[in-house]
């Protein structure tokens, strides 16, 4: 029982990680109709920014401030990405989107290889080794912070999408782009804001979860794939569907790794299985059909 609870908790943390990635991907897909194959590399960039912050011993700052800096830098990074790459190709076909984001991904990975080499970098926080006991289950404070933050961020994002003018504009664009242009929604501005939020979410994921793994240049590909898996499971471009799907994926992976003999090496194969099964039997996503964010 205790072991089961531990696997479940692991899965929840993993799911929270996928959820942050998925939210970013789904936002971009909803607003810009663009699948960003470089999204996982945003996480990687965030991880290295955290690493740089930690390795400059001169200004030792609290963990919360480190996270804020990572999130802010990633938001700026997202805006730069929008200006340099996305802006020029947004109105073109999805093929162009795919090739352009894939090329960006390769550039990011190899620049990271050039600067940081392929050795994994550890970014530990003091909360990793602090263990608390809740209802007889031992959990590191880091994981607790991850879970609470992700749920808060999700609620905040939902509030933003439903109650602010910008958020409503984003939802409107995801439902009918041309009509939005007709009534005078500034598509350009919304696109930039969406990329900033999306990248900031990847940055938050990096700030929270990079300490649990090690950062290496080529980690982005698999992260993108996991995010896309959850996006497909939840129904393309649905925020809430993707969010729940991310947790399902995380928990199933964790239980598979824990209970199937030799499962740990193959836990990443599950996402492929999910994609195949969902596409075969429920191509509109697990949670029914809805248009827009």
């Amino acid at each position: 029982m205790e072991i089961f609870a531990e696997h479940l908790l692991n899965g929840l943390t993993q799911g929270a990680f996928y959820a942050l990635v998925t939210l970013g991907l789904a936002l971009i897909f909803g607003v810009a109709r663009l699948v960003n194959f470089a999204h996982g590399d945003f996480f990687m960039v965030g991880g290295y920014i955290l690493f740089l912050l930690q390795s400059t011993k001169l200004l030792s700052m609290p963990y919360a401030i480190q996270i804020l800096i990572v999130v802010a830098s990633l938001a700026i990074f997202g805006v730069i990405f929008e200006y340099l790459v996305v802006h020029r190709i947004l109105e073109r076909s999805w093929r162009v989107h795919l090739v352009a984001t894939l090329a960006s991904s390769i550039i990011m990975v190899n620049v990271a290889l050039l600067i940081f080499t392929s050795d994994p970098k550890q970014v530990p926080t003091p909360y990793l080794t602090t263990i608390v006991e809740i209802f007889g289950i031992r959990i590191s404070v880091q994981r607790l912070i991850v879970l609470v933050t992700v749920i808060l961020v999700y609620l905040l994002l939902q509030w933003f999408l439903h109650n602010t003018k910008t958020g409503k504009a984003m939802r409107a664009i995801s439902q009918n782009r041309d009509m939005c242009r007709v009534v005078g929604v500034d598509l350009r501005r919304i696109s930039v804001i969406t990329f900033a939020i999306s990248a900031a979410l990847a940055g938050l994921a990096a700030g929270l979860l990079a300490p649990l793994f090690a950062v290496n240049p080529s980690m982005g590909g698999l992260i993108t794939l996991k995010g896309l898996t959850a996006v497909i499971m939840g129904g393309l471009g649905q925020i809430s569907g993707g969010f729940y799907a991310a947790f399902i994926l995380g928990i199933v992976e964790s239980l598979f790794a824990g209970y199937v003999p030799g499962g740990f090496a193959y836990k990443d194969v599950i996402s492929f299985g999910f994609i195949i099964i969902v596409l075969l039997f429920r191509p509109q996503g697990l949670f029914g059909r809805k248009i827009g964010l």
Binding site: R95, V99, A103, S104, I106, A265, L279
Partner: protein
């Protein structure tokens, strides 16, 4: 019925073919000849990928996977069955075609985007499985000692391919077969249907075309050719590692196709020659130390610039130049 090759292209191909056959006489060094083989491999590879990407317009990310799995098919099954060179290649071709159908059916379900994602998943997962199934593939230890191509000629002559030059002459017919298959598919009724599906899927369906069938055809034939090529690669280098499945190769293929010019035989050939020969020459002749990392960054930037500003690629450039020189129309 349109001709398999236009007249201008025929000249280009015949000259190219003669040069290809004479090249080993001019460049006799081992390094030069291995660069030539690499170029030939990428010509076949890029043509097989262009069927899907250029002609039908469905970008997928599993080309290196079919190549790698084709290589593993030969590496693992070849020595056990003793099929010989042609048998090995055919086995990889057939198995990869079947695999492509299995991957294609679910991936094509929703849209072209999910197709790209489905094939990306297939690519990443295959790499994980090949790296981890140590009992079968040896994992990172690679499969070593794959037998070289061996032919028994009529009259009891035994002939084994060992030198680089012999491999080169084994590869040249394969390139020609690929070019013929590529042309047979793309200049016939099927080829026109490919273009119809690429340009406007809805109109194509209205005209009684089943777009899915043609997307699948291009994907499966491409995968089969890539698999056969992988089999050649396995019997050429005789060592196959999980890195053969690496996604990096996709970028190289995309750059060849998009910089050369999508859906054009000459463009893809030019792209393949330029982007395999140049980096190798830079590495071997020049004193500039260009690591694969630098190369990938450069490739990424070129690909990004070309896709953004010059989607027609080199082929369009060549075409425009020729049009300006003489206004002959063929």
């Amino acid at each position: 019925m349109t001709a398999l090759f236009k007249r201008r292209e025929l000249w280009f191909l015949v000259t190219g073919g003669v040069i290809a056959l004479l090249l080993p006489r001019v460049f006799t060094s081992g390094i030069a000849q291995s660069i030539m083989i690499l170029t030939g491999i990428f010509i076949i590879f890029a043509l097989s990928y262009d069927l899907s990407v250029g002609h039908v317009g469905t970008v997928h990310l599993a080309a290196p996977t079919f190549f790698g799995l084709g290589a593993y098919t030969t590496a693992l099954l070849g020595p056990q069955f003793g099929f010989g060179f042609i048998g090995n290649v055919m086995l990889s071709v057939v198995l990869m075609a079947v695999l492509a159908v299995l991957v294609g059916i679910p991936s094509f379900r929703l849209s072209d985007v999910t197709f790209a994602i489905g094939t990306l998943a297939f690519a990443l997962i295959s790499q994980i499985v090949v790296s981890n199934a140590v009992d079968i593939t040896g994992g990172p230890l690679c499969v070593k000692g794959i037998p070289r191509p061996h032919f028994t000629l009529p009259g009891g002559f035994e002939y084994t391919i060992t030198t680089t030059q012999q491999y080169y002459y084994l590869l040249v017919p394969l390139i020609f077969i690929t070019i013929i298959v590529y042309r047979l598919l793309t200049t016939s009724r099927i080829g026109r249907t490919f273009v119809a599906v690429r340009e406007d899927e809805i109109s194509a369906s209205a005209a009684g075309i089943n777009p899915l069938r043609y997307k699948m055809l291009a994907f499966v034939v491409g995968a089969a050719i890539a698999g056969g090529l992988g089999s050649f690669q396995a019997q050429y280098v005789t060592v196959i590692c999980p890195t053969e499945l690496a996604l990096d190769l996709t970028i190289k293929l995309l750059i060849i196709i998009f910089v050369g010019g999508t859906a054009t035989l000459r463009g893809v050939l030019l792209g393949a020659v330029i982007f395999t020969t140049l980096p190798e020459l830079m590495r071997n002749l020049g004193r500039i130390n260009v690591t694969p990392v630098h190369q990938q960054i450069l490739f990424g930037i070129i690909l990004l610039l070309v896709i953004t500003y010059a989607p027609g690629g080199l082929e369009e450039l060549v075409d425009r130049l020729q049009w300006r020189e003489s206004s002959d129309n063929d």
